[in-house]
C-alpha cells in the first residue's frame, strides 16, 4: 500500500468537485448546465465511495470483512450511476417539454408562479 496515493487526496478532489457543482447549481442560469453541475456532484460522491471502498481493505480487521465492506461501496456506485441515468432521462424530458411550450428554457424566465 506504500506507493498508493493517500486517501485524503481523493477526498479533497471529490469535495472540490462537489463544491464546484454546488456553486454551479446556484450560479448558472441554463437548466442543462445546472443539471450538468448536479451530475458533477453525483460523480463526486461516486469518487468518494470508490476511494473509501478501496481503503476499506487497508483498515478492516480481516480480509473477509474488508471485502464485504468494499463491495457495499462499489455496489452503491453502480446504483448511483443507474439512478443518475434515470434522472438524466427525466430531466431532459422536462427540459424538452418546456422548450416545446415556449421555445427557450432559461431559469430566469421561470416565474409564472408568484406569491
Amino acid at each position: 500500500m506504500g506507493t498508493d496515493i493517500p486517501l485524503v487526496w481523493y477526498l479533497v478532489t471529490a469535495l472540490f468537485m462537489f463544491v464546484m457543482g454546488g456553486i454551479g447549481v446556484v450560479v448558472r442560469r441554463n437548466p442543462v448546465v445546472v443539471f450538468m453541475c448536479i451530475e458533477l456532484m453525483l460523480n463526486a460522491t461516486n469518487l468518494t465511495f470508490l476511494a473509501f471502498a478501496r481503503y476499506q481493505i487497508a483498515s478492516a480487521q480481516t480480509p473477509e470483512a474488508a471485502l464485504q465492506a468494499a463491495m457495499s461501496g462499489q455496489m452503491m456506485v453502480i446504483f448511483v450511476m443507474a439512478v443518475a441515468a434515470a434522472e438524466v432521462a427525466v430531466g431532459l424530458g422536462i427540459i424538452m417539454a418546456i422548450f416545446r411550450l415556449k421555445n427557450e428554457a432559461g431559469l430566469d424566465d421561470m416565474s409564472t408562479m408568484r406569491g
Binding site: 462537489f18 447549481v25 473509501f52 464485504q68 452503491m76 430531466g91 422536462i94 417539454a97 408562479m113 406569491g115
Partner: protein, 500 residues
C-alpha cells in the same frame, strides 16, 4: 473469494412493496394493449392491487418484529403503520383522479403506473435500515414524482414546477449521497447505524467524518421533507402540479420523508448534542415561516403548500420530543399526527381539484367561489378537512396537535410547544379564508354543471371524512394501537389521557 450463503427470503416483509410494484407493471401491460381504450381497467386493477397490498400488511402486525435481508427490510410498528398509510393515500388519490384527468384533458397515460411506483418507493423508504435501500426508495419516489408533476404538458406552470422540483430534488439527492458516503467511509457499513459504529470506534477523525456525513444527510432529508431553510420549492411545486398529483405528493412524499427522518434521527442519537439545536431551530422556523407565509397567499394550492411546510414543522417537534426523551415519549403521537395529516390533506386537495373545469383550472381563492352550489357534498366535507387542519377540538387535527404539545412538554421542550400553539392559532386565519371562498356566491353556478360523474370524488372525500371521524372518535385507541407494549415503553395514550 467467498460467497455469502443464499439468504432465506422473508416473503411477508417484501410482500406489500412487491404487490404495489407488480400492480404498476400489470397496469403498464394493460396500457400497452389498451383493450377498452379508456383507463377504467387500469384504475380497477390498481385499486385491487392496492387493496391486496394493504391486506398483506395487516397480518404482519402480529408477526415477530425485526430485520431481514441483512437489515435491508425491517418490520416494526413505524414501518407497518406508515406502509398502510401510504397505501391508503394512494388508494384515495386513485378514486378521484380519473374524473379530474378527464375534466382537465390531461393526456398522460402513465399516471397510475408512476403513482404506484412512487408509493412503492415511499414504502421502501419507511421500512429499511440500509442506506442503499433508503437511497433507492427516495429516488424511485422522487423520479416518479418529477414525471407526475410535469404531467400536464399543455400548461407552462406544470412544466416549470416539474423543472424546479427536479433540479432541487436532484440537488438534495446529491447531499444525501455525499452524506451516505461519509457515513460509509469510516465504518465500511451502509447500515443506518453507521453513526454509532463510527462513534464507538473512538477515533476522532472517524467521528468527525460521521458528523460531516450525518449533517449532509440531514440537509438532504430537509430538502425532501420541505423543512424551512430548504422549503422554497414547495409552494411552486404544489401550485404548478396537477391537483391530483399535488394531493398525492403532499401526503406521500411527506409521510415517506418524515418516516425516514425518524429513523435517521434515531440512528444519529450518539451525535445528538451536535444536531439537536439545529433541528430545534429548523422546527421553529418551519412552523413560523410556513404559517406566516401562508397568510399572504392568493392561491389555494400555494396556501396549502405553505401549510404543509408548517405541518412538517409540527411533525419534527414530535420527532424531536421522542429523540429527547425516548423513555417518556414514544413515536405514537408522531404516527397519529402523520395519519391525520395524510387523510385531511388528501381530502382538502380532492375538493380543490373540483376547480378544474373544461380543460382549465384556476386555483386562486376566487376560483373556488360557488363551489358550494356546484358540489354541495364535497364543499361540506371541505369544512371538515379545514377544521381538522386548523385543529378545532373534536377533529383528528386537534388531537394530533394536542398529543404533540403534551409530548413536547413531557420532553421539556417548552419553546417548541409554545410556538406550535401560537402558530396554530395564526393558521386559522388563512384556513378560514379557504372556507369563506367556497361559500361566496357565484353568478350562474349550477349543481354539477359539466354532468360528469362525481361518484369517485365523492367516495374519496367520504372516505377521508369517515377516517377523520373514526380516528377522532377512537383517538385514544388509535394512539394505543400506535404505541405497542412490545416497544418496552409506557404507551403514550395513558399519559396523555391522564393529563387531560
Amino acid at each position: 473469494m467467498s460467497y455469502q450463503p443464499i439468504p432465506t427470503i422473508d416473503w411477508w416483509a417484501i410482500a406489500p412493496v412487491s404487490i404495489v410494484m407488480v400492480t404498476g407493471i400489470v397496469a403498464l401491460l394493460i396500457e400497452m394493449f389498451r383493450p377498452n381504450r379508456n383507463n377504467n381497467t387500469i384504475v380497477a386493477v390498481s385499486l385491487v392491487g392496492l387493496f391486496l397490498a394493504g391486506l398483506s400488511v395487516v397480518p404482519q402486525f402480529s408477526m415477530p418484529f425485526g430485520s431481514s435481508f441483512g437489515g435491508m427490510v425491517v418490520r416494526d410498528y413505524l414501518g407497518l403503520v406508515l406502509q398502510l398509510l401510504l397505501i391508503t393515500v394512494c388508494f384515495v388519490a386513485f378514486l378521484f383522479s380519473e374524473p379530474y384527468l378527464r375534466e382537465k384533458r390531461i393526456a398522460f397515460a402513465e399516471f397510475y403506473q408512476l403513482a404506484l411506483w412512487a408509493s412503492a418507493g415511499g414504502m421502501i423508504m419507511v421500512t429499511t435500515e440500509n442506506l442503499l435501500m433508503f437511497f433507492l426508495g427516495l429516488e424511485v419516489l422522487g423520479i416518479a414524482l418529477y414525471c407526475l408533476t410535469g404531467m400536464c404538458r399543455q400548461e407552462l406552470r406544470s412544466e416549470e414546477s416539474a423543472m424546479k422540483y427536479f433540479l432541487l430534488g436532484a440537488f438534495g439527492t446529491a447531499f444525501v449521497l455525499m452524506g451516505i458516503a461519509y457515513l460509509y467511509g469510516p465504518t465500511g457499513s451502509l447500515r443506518i447505524d453507521a453513526v454509532s459504529i463510527a462513534v464507538a470506534s473512538d477515533q476522532p477523525h472517524f467521528v468527525l467524518m460521521a458528523l460531516f456525513g450525518f449533517g449532509l444527510l440531514l440537509v438532504g432529508l430537509c430538502f425532501k421533507s420541505a423543512l424551512v431553510p430548504f422549503h422554497q420549492w414547495t409552494p411552486d411545486v404544489y401550485q404548478g402540479a396537477p391537483t391530483n398529483v399535488t394531493a398525492f405528493m403532499a401526503s406521500t412524499s411527506k409521510i415517506a420523508a418524515i418516516g425516514a427522518l425518524i429513523r435517521v434521527l434515531a440512528a444519529g442519537a450518539p451525535l445528538v448534542s451536535y444536531w439537536f439545536p439545529i433541528m430545534f431551530w429548523v422546527a421553529i422556523l418551519s412552523m413560523v415561516v410556513g404559517n406566516f407565509a401562508a397568510l399572504v397567499q392568493k392561491d389555494v394550492k400555494r396556501t396549502l403548500g405553505y401549510s404543509s411546510v408548517a405541518n412538517g414543522g409540527y411533525m419534527l417537534v414530535a420527532v424531536l420530543a421522542h429523540v429527547q426523551a425516548p423513555e417518556k415519549v414514544s413515536l405514537a403521537s408522531t404516527l397519529f399526527f402523520i395519519t391525520g395529516y395524510g387523510v385531511m390533506t388528501m381530502g382538502a386537495f380532492a375538493v380543490v381539484s373540483l376547480a378544474a373545469r373544461d380543460g382549465k383550472e384556476g386555483t386562486r381563492f376566487q376560483d373556488l367561489h360557488g363551489l358550494w352550489h356546484r358540489a354541495p357534498f364535497a364543499a361540506g366535507c371541505l369544512i371538515l378537512f379545514v377544521a381538522s387542519l386548523i385543529g378545532v377540538p373534536p377533529t383528528v387535527g386537534f388531537f394530533g396537535k394536542m398529543f404533540i404539545f403534551n409530548d413536547a412538554l413531557a420532553a421539556g421542550l417548552l419553546p417548541l410547544a409554545l410556538v406550535l400553539a401560537v402558530t396554530s392559532v395564526v393558521s386559522a386565519y388563512y384556513y378560514l379564508g379557504i372556507i369563506q371562498a367556497v361559500f361566496v356566491q357565484e353568478e350562474g353556478a349550477v349543481k354539477n354543471e359539466s354532468g360528469r360523474p362525481q361518484a369517485g370524488l365523492n367516495l374519496a372525500v367520504l372516505l377521508c371524512a369517515l377516517a377523520i371521524f373514526g380516528i377522532s372518535l377512537g383517538a385514544e385507541n388509535v394512539l394505543k394501537f400506535m404505541a405497542p407494549a412490545e416497544d418496552g415503553r409506557q404507551p403514550v395514550a395513558e399519559r396523555t389521557v391522564a393529563q387531560r
